[in-house]
């Protein structure tokens, strides 16, 4: 199996093959051969031994395109570029041109709107104020443009990933 994994800004090509023995995987990472001995202790928790060194790799469960794992204590985000994977077929973020959606980065309640539909805004200008856990956070415009859509109103409850507004 071939997989491409983008992690820490680098695209790594991985070729992976399960050997006959229990839990042994023969792999090459960017052409370098590696033998790894793996055991899934419970869902999302992998004990990995590579050349005698022992690692705890913990997968953070996510339905999102970007996955997160902990290698020891290091939190690492990654994206799988496997052509067979459904998830990578979704359109990626794209450049700074074109319409941009403003998404909630965390669950919370909309406290107020700082811009109205049709208003011209600047990059980094606050658009929506969300409150969670007694703290208020401004969700800011990713670019200069115009607010073409607003999907929420004061008092609404939002969850992470909800589209709040569109800036064109």
């Amino acid at each position: 199996m071939r997989i491409e994994i983008e992690m820490g800004g680098q695209l790594r090509k991985v070729q992976l093959e399960q050997a006959a023995e229990n839990g042994v995987w023969r792999a090459s990472v960017d052409g370098e051969s590696v033998t790894a001995e793996a055991r899934l202790l419970r869902p999302g928790v992998l004990s990995l031994i590579v050349d005698g060194r022992s690692y705890r790799i913990v997968l953070e469960e996510s339905a999102a395109e970007e996955q997160v794992l902990f290698a020891g204590t290091e939190r690492m985000a990654y994206r799988v570029e496997d052509p067979r994977s459904l998830r990578s077929r979704r359109t990626h973020g794209g450049g700074t041109d074109g319409p941009k959606t403003l998404k909630a980065s965390m669950p919370g309640r909309v406290v107020r709107l700082l811009a109205a539909k049709g208003e011209t805004v600047r990059a980094h200008q606050g658009i929506v104020v969300i409150e969670a856990m007694k703290m208020q956070n401004e969700v800011k415009s990713p670019k200069d443009g115009r607010v073409t859509e607003i999907h929420v109103g004061a008092g609404d409850t939002v969850t992470a990933g909800d589209v709040l507004a569109v800036i064109e």
Partner: protein, 505 residues
Amino acid sequence: MAFTKILIANRGEIALRVERACRELGIATVAVYSDADRAAPHVMEADEAYRLGPAPATESYLRGDLILKIARESGAQAIHPGYGFLSENADFALACEEAGIKFIGPTAQAMRALGSKTRARQAADKAGMPRTPGSTEALASLDEAYEVAEQIGYPVMLKAAAGGGGKGMRAITRREELASAFTSAQSEAERAFGSGEVYLEKLIERPRHIEIQVLADEHGHCISLGERECSVQRRHQKVIEEAPSAVVDEELRQRMGEAAVRLAQSAGYTNAGTVEFLLDDSGSFYFLEMNTRLQVEHPVTELVTGLDLVHLQIHIAEGEPLPLKQEDVQLRGHAIECRIYAEDPENGFFPSPGRITRLLQPGGPGIREDSGIYEGWVVPMDYDPMLSKLIAYAPTRKMVVARMLRALDEYVIGGIRSNLNLFRRILHDEDFRAARIDTGYLDRLLQRDSGTEGEASAEVKDAAIPAVLGAAIFETLRGDGAARTAGTASAGGWKLQARRGALRG
């Protein structure tokens, strides 16, 4: 009167911690919960549990009327308020008294005498206890503010009498800043606490925050249980606490302890309380305020004294005399506490509520965890973001820091962001390790470190290959769903089983 049933008017780790104490004392527990907390551990672990209302605290945990009604109907003889919510609400304490239900804490009267910062400063004067120079009553006018400031000398601090959490607080270095600060602090205090009362005190530069735990029974006995060092703060919120303080020696501990006991006794204080001080460079200490309840950080005192403060709170409320005298208090070893929050230190400390999809908790020698979470728990957006308190104990400060780092390395919280890495950063910092800390320490560390975040540590590079391999293996298993379900015996067909068998061996 020995209690047979206690209602715990709180949530999260402290509700569970009090339930555990009750169970140890053979006392039945009544939990209350909001709609956001139906699946919380404190609900399941209680003997009885009753719904209060919707998620917002004003409709649930702050509904003293409902809580009293549930206490009466369930037959609870006492209410433990925990910290936060109704714990320092004198009206609620009074309502309990009037309903014949024991409030586990001081009387409403003592709470009023020490709860307002200006009244507490007056009490400190009466008790002959050092406090920061400045006013002991609300400032009547800007003119009076100018007058007091000249008298004590700049820099000065404007504070709300009813304050807490840094609200209504302003540091003023020059005369010109006073007028606008006065107006804005007053209106901020008015909004936050319903009282615009502010006062002025001398600003102590680079102080340490040192607090003394006191316990007073209802028979006039009061003892102190040593100090806690709480200087590691972000925006006036404690982040790490320890006991003892590296800079408090036996003589200073005794003087601060005696001052704290004097203050408590002067106000007829009963039950557990904490007297907070600022300690300056020269070793002088100044009364700051009194917290008339159990503190979040009480476990570090428990570990160095070997006592259980919640047991003692309950015994005191039952009318028992203190089971020990001042000279019986033995301090031993060193303890440290990390407040684990659902927040993202790398992103402006944004709160991070949501589902905890993965949870690995530490254990073993010297580690205590007072937790209110589990794998699968959805951290509500409606309350304080504290998830858990990780507490370590060891013979020396050096070793307890190493032990806490070990425990942090074992800890994984997935699904939401947490401040685990912040603690690693602090505990590795040379200044912290040398105990060169004051209340501004953490803000300086955060500013200093923000410049060096681009560099990948050696550890990251080390883990890059296994991390990529792990991701690839998870992805391979994900294809057939095994990554998520391999731990249970129930899933899928033989092909999947075979593959998982190979992995699990």
